[in-house]
């Protein structure tokens, strides 16, 4: 059973690697952010698989933390875009 779960975790890890291609190529920053979101979910899945495979429950806590923080970077990204928009408006007004 553990072997199968490790193999599944490895497969999801491979998907993470493929998702990285999107971060590499973009072309837009929103694409990069979307890819980061996918990788976050992949990370959560990997952690859950590892927790069950290695019978070490505290790993689930890491997954819980990661799931909570998954939205965090994306929100910061959107705020950054807004900040830029606001500034350019302010410059236009001048």
């Amino acid at each position: 059973m553990a072997s199968f779960l490790y193999a599944a975790a490895g497969l999801v890890l491979a998907m993470t690697a493929l998702g990285l291609v999107r971060i590499l190529c973009g072309p837009r920053n929103a694409d990069r952010m979307a890819a980061a979101q996918l990788i976050g979910t992949c990370g959560v899945a990997i952690l859950l698989l590892l927790a069950t495979a290695s019978k070490f429950q505290p790993i689930v806590d890491v997954a819980l933390l990661l799931a909570l923080l998954a939205a965090f970077a994306s929100v910061a990204f959107v705020r950054g875009v807004d900040a830029r928009g606001n500034r350019s408006e302010a410059e236009e007004r001048k």
């Binding site: 072997s3 920053n29 939205a71 970077a73």
Partner: protein, 339 residues
């Protein structure tokens, strides 16, 4: 090879690849996003190294809060990016050479360790039963090497003082600017109202289980930070003015309480930072509770930085918009008392 070994090799290759990409890429935003992903993968590495406490810290601080800090900086520095000249090849080459040399030296030292590697684990475990704790890492942080932990808190506070002193004179003690446009019905507001209660419960849980299982003050504090910043970014609450006395009290409360417990050790136990027999665990839990709150606030303020308005822009008109009162604020007043 077992699937676990293959997984580890794949993970190592991936981490190295992301690290190389993060350093080589020219676009700041792409570098920051890959750094966030890098932090996530490093957290996985820590899990594979059986260091779940570190994985929690890395996931929360290394990936989450640092990512937010760098994303904000990248967005602010975007105007400067176009005119930037890449460093000369000589500088790049010498930096790369130096780093490679240091890395090789460190790797060699790690590899030539004698086979039963030197370890302090037995020494650390020996003191554990006396403290009543079940998690060896917390034991090390608060018993075996408590002085390090105390000094680290002081470093945090000093860093915050440093960040604040970078504010311009007229902005001293002002409110850290955070680009928040509040939309009462916005999806972001919904998230900022839904997640923080869950996050706070999880933070308290982490601090509480920290005594016996992976978790502790750092992880709980970092999680509090993340939730606080989420609320600020959604514009549900405004950031506190950095000049507020109450805020500064919260910041120093953790180190001061820890220090007080340390000095009490002179009176009731063997010396500085030693706990009287039988009272070790309650004292550690008290110190940890205070530290969790202090760390949460200090990390958040570090990420927010000093009050910073762009020199070219007039005071942002939307800054007043985000302090508009709303039903949500009264509901959040219990969680986020205006500090």
């Amino acid at each position: 090879m077992s699937p676990a070994t293959i997984f580890d090799i794949g993970l190592a290759v991936l981490v190295l690849g992301v690290a190389a990409w993060t350093i080589l890429v020219r676009d700041t935003f792409a570098a920051v996003v890959s750094f966030v992903v890098y932090g996530l993968l490093v957290a996985l590495v820590w899990v594979r190294l059986s260091a779940v406490d570190v994985a929690l810290t890395e996931a929360a601080i290394g990936s989450g809060v640092t990512g937010m800090l760098l994303l904000g900086a990248a967005a602010r520095l975007r105007p400067a990016e176009a005119g930037a000249t890449p460093p000369s090849a000589l500088i790049c080459a010498s930096a790369a050479g130096l780093c490679t040399l240091i890395a090789m030296g460190l790797a060699a030292t790690t590899l030539i360790l004698p086979d039963p590697a030197p370890t302090l684990a037995p020494a650390a475990m020996a003191g554990l039963p006396a403290s009543g704790l079940g998690n060896p890492v917390t034991g090390v942080l608060f018993v075996y090497r408590a002085l390090d932990t105390l000094l680290e808190k002081v470093v945090l506070v000093l860093a915050l003082v440093g960040v604040w002193s970078l504010a311009a004179d007229e902005e001293w003690g002002g409110t850290p600017e955070i680009s928040a446009t509040r939309q009462p019905d916005g999806i972001l507001t919904f998230l900022a109202q839904l997640l923080p209660p869950v996050g706070i419960v999880l933070a308290i849980y982490m601090f509480w289980v920290g005594a016996d299982h992976p978790g502790g003050a750092f992880q709980g504090g970092a999680l509090l930070t993340a939730m606080w910043l989420l609320v600020l970014m959604a514009g549900v609450r405004t950031a506190p003015a950095t000049g507020l006395v109450a805020l500064r009290l919260v910041i120093v409360a953790g180190p001061v309480i820890f220090l007080a417990i340390g000095f009490a050790g002179f009176a009731w136990a063997d010396g500085f930072l030693s706990y009287p027999a039988g009272y070790a665990k309650p004292l550690i839990v008290i110190a940890e509770a205070a530290l969790t709150l202090s760390i949460g606030v200090t990390l958040g303020l570090l990420a927010l930085g000093p009050r910073r308005c762009m020199a070219s822009a007039p005071p942002p008109s939307w800054a007043s918009g985000c302090s508009a009162s709303s039903p949500a604020r009264s509901c959040y007043a219990k969680f986020w008392p205006s500090m």
